[in-house]
């Protein structure tokens, strides 16, 4: 028998079956924890934040449109929760306005060689991610670790897809600079 889709289960939860929500939590628990641990690097309460995100998703599940995909909706709630955590802790600034969303950018597509780049980059990401500002850290996490495409990331962050491309590009260059500073001998031997 084919596995029921997230959207089918969401409909069941919307009808009042609270226990069915457990299936959705089970499906997304590890993804959300991974997303939280990488995005909220150095924040000790990643698990609590994920739990809070799931509870918010449950409370608001009737606002979910089952004709659309469930995962970006859940990621959006998690994103809001994570941003609130960062704001609350006041450890990193979250600017109210991002000039990157102001103007159109040249159309940039998902890289076909993401996997090749990703393998190199993931090692770099692990060591340098926490030094990146949240604005660049989050798209990198969603793209390279959560393997979401530009359109999905754009929906989660509520920014134009071309801005996702710009943030990824700037995030990668920033990451390279950080990595070069930490490993001055890298690539020079």
């Amino acid at each position: 028998m084919a596995e029921r889709t997230d959207e089918d289960i969401a409909i069941q939860v919307q009808r009042g079956d609270g226990q069915a929500f457990g299936i959705l939590v089970e499906r997304y628990e590890s993804k959300m924890l991974r997303y939280a641990r990488r995005f909220l690097f150095g924040y000790e309460d990643a698990e609590d934040t994920v739990q809070e995100a799931f509870l918010k998703a449950y409370v608001n599940i009737r606002s979910f449109d089952p004709k659309r995909k469930f995962s970006p909706w859940l990621y959006r709630i998690a994103h809001n929760e994570f941003i609130n955590t960062i704001k609350r802790k006041r450890r990193e600034p979250i600017p109210f306005f991002d000039p990157d969303v102001l103007f159109p950018h040249p159309h940039s597509r998902d890289h076909a060689d993401r996997d090749v780049i990703a393998n190199d980059l993931k090692t770099t990401l692990h060591s340098s991610l926490q030094r990146l500002p949240p604005k660049y850290r989050e798209p990198l996490v969603l793209y390279y670790f959560e393997e979401l495409d530009y359109r999905e990331i754009a929906e989660i962050l509520r920014i134009p897809a071309s801005t996702v491309g710009v943030r990824l590009k700037r995030g990668r260059s920033a990451l390279r600079k950080i990595y070069d500073t930490l490993n001055p001998t890298y690539g020079k031997t």
């Binding site: 609270g18 939590v25 698990e47 994920v50 509870l55 449950y58 608001n60 009737r62 159109p104 929906e155």
Partner: protein, 253 residues
């Protein structure tokens, strides 16, 4: 003795436990419907307010003739910028920013670069404001404000109605004198207009008494040093407040 700690419950277990204990309750559909309706109503109110303010700015510019000042070159542009009702313009921009923040909620908007949506809203505000400015709304409200029957926007209308714009003077030529004219302003003042060789006049136009004109220039006491003059016929017809308001006036007693 070795102490055995209970394993930490998974996120799933904790979430289900809180749901079962009633610590998290699903909102009803009506809650989201009300939220959506409230949000849409707020956007509607903001949009109507923006259109109203924009139309008021456009009405004042057209009614006073100030919008024709740039015809007289850089000096006219300077007069136009210096005389703009900046308070209203800033209020329009404020409403535009707040409206932009609200509409960013919709995918149609946040999927596009901000500059596109801001330009689209500016176009809507200007075209909508221009359409509203052509209706009898503002002349009627001006009339009502001058009778003291407009509580909130009244001071804005009265300030405009009493003073107009400082460097634009509409009126009627009463007498042609050497070096200038005598003009009766819209407010019934008798003004002297200094016309010098530097005064820019519309080509091939002869002025005579009884002509309705727009004088651009600094006023000192009862004398205006005109740097530009237009005949009303050259300008679009001005919206003169009707003598009787078409809106029922509340009793002042």
């Amino acid at each position: 003795m070795e102490k055995h700690e209970a394993p930490t419950p998974s996120v799933r277990e904790q979430v289900i436990e809180k749901i079962s204990a009633g610590q998290a309750k699903m909102h009803r559909r009506a809650y989201f419907a009300a939220q959506t309706a409230l949000f849409a109503a707020l956007i509607f109110i903001l949009l109507v307010s923006l259109l109203y303010l924009t139309s008021l700015v456009i009405f004042e510019l057209r009614d006073s003739g100030l919008w024709l000042a740039p015809r007289f070159g850089w000096r006219g542009v300077r007069v136009f910028l210096m005389s703009l009702p900046w308070l209203l313009v800033i209020a329009c921009l404020g409403f535009l920013i707040v409206l932009e923040i609200f509409v960013q909620h919709y995918s149609l908007v946040y999927r596009r670069p901000l500059v596109y949506t801001v330009i689209a809203m500016l176009i809507i505000a200007v075209i909508g404001g221009w359409v509203v400015a052509r209706t009898p709304l503002h002349p009627a409200l001006l009339n009502r404000a001058e009778r003291g029957g407009l509580p909130f926007a009244g001071p804005f209308y009265r300030a405009y109605g009493e003073k107009g714009f400082p460097r634009v003077h509409p009126g009627t030529i009463r007498e042609i004198t050497p070096g200038g004219w005598r003009m009766e302003s819209r407010r019934g003042e008798n003004l002297r207009i200094d016309v010098t060789p530097e005064t820019r006049l519309p080509p091939h136009t002869q002025f005579s008494t009884g002509d309705e004109v727009l004088i651009f220039g600094e006023r000192r006491d009862d004398t205006i040093q005109a740097f530009g003059i237009l005949r009303m016929d050259d300008a679009p017809p001005l919206q003169v407040p009707p003598p009787v308001s078409p809106l029922p006036l509340p009793s002042l007693r």
